[in-house]
């Protein structure tokens, strides 16, 4: 189970996750849950540098206003539901975001009020009644 919080102004749901980089570098990152983001995680340039994440390539992201930005894509490992997994990270300097890619297989509970609870649980477990 992953636990987070709603911000004090009630406007954002965030969780903490550990991002692992090159060598034994790791950082605890506060990331906002964004179900409109199709991928796993965005990180700002300074964190990508601090973690020495290897570059995979470049591509484009369409933003909410329809505009397109060109970004670097990096490889990282994160601790998610207690396990390490490799993911792609898009560079974005607007603050870390967790997207639907990382949320796959999880259920998300939000108490949408200032300081409210945020809980992400795995539901795609072996033997789970939801798995057909």
């Amino acid at each position: 189970m992953i636990e987070g919080r709603i911000s004090a102004d009630g406007c954002e749901a965030f969780v903490f996750l550990t991002v692992l980089g090159g060598g034994d570098r790791e950082r605890e990152v506060e990331a906002v849950i964004d179900t409109g983001f199709t991928e796993y995680l965005t990180l700002p340039a300074d964190l990508i540098r601090a973690l020495s994440l290897p570059l995979r390539g470049y591509g484009e992201v369409i933003l909410a206003d329809g505009s397109v930005v060109k970004v670097g894509i990096y490889r990282a490992r994160v601790v998610w539901h207690g396990k390490r997994r490799g993911i792609e990270v898009q560079q974005s300097d607007g603050g870390p975001l967790i997207g639907m890619g990382l949320l796959q297989g999880g259920s998300l509970y939000i108490e949408a009020a200032p300081g409210g609870r945020v809980v992400i649980e795995e539901f795609l477990r072996r033997g789970s009644p939801t798995q057909t």
Binding site: T38, R56, Y58, G59, E60, I62, L63, V69, G72, I73
Partner: protein, 92 residues
Amino acid sequence: MDFAVKNFDHKAEEVVRRGREIYERDIRSKVESDFGGKFIVVDVVTGDYVIADSDSEAFDLAEEKHPDGVHYVARIGHRAPYRIGSRPGAPR
């Protein structure tokens, strides 16, 4: 400073521009009818490309082929491979 200005990355601009050019000129007509929705990674140095179900797999294959390549990712039949807050097919 708005998001687009803050995120401006010269290297990304150049690689994406070259990648798009190669894709439109040499690749698009060969792949679009059969591989819609899949991810393609183009090595902008050699023009070689690989197609896979995810961007992660496509990067893996491209790095195997060209460990020193410079890689551009796209999603076949889509305007861009990734979205933050926009819906597919939303007006430009």
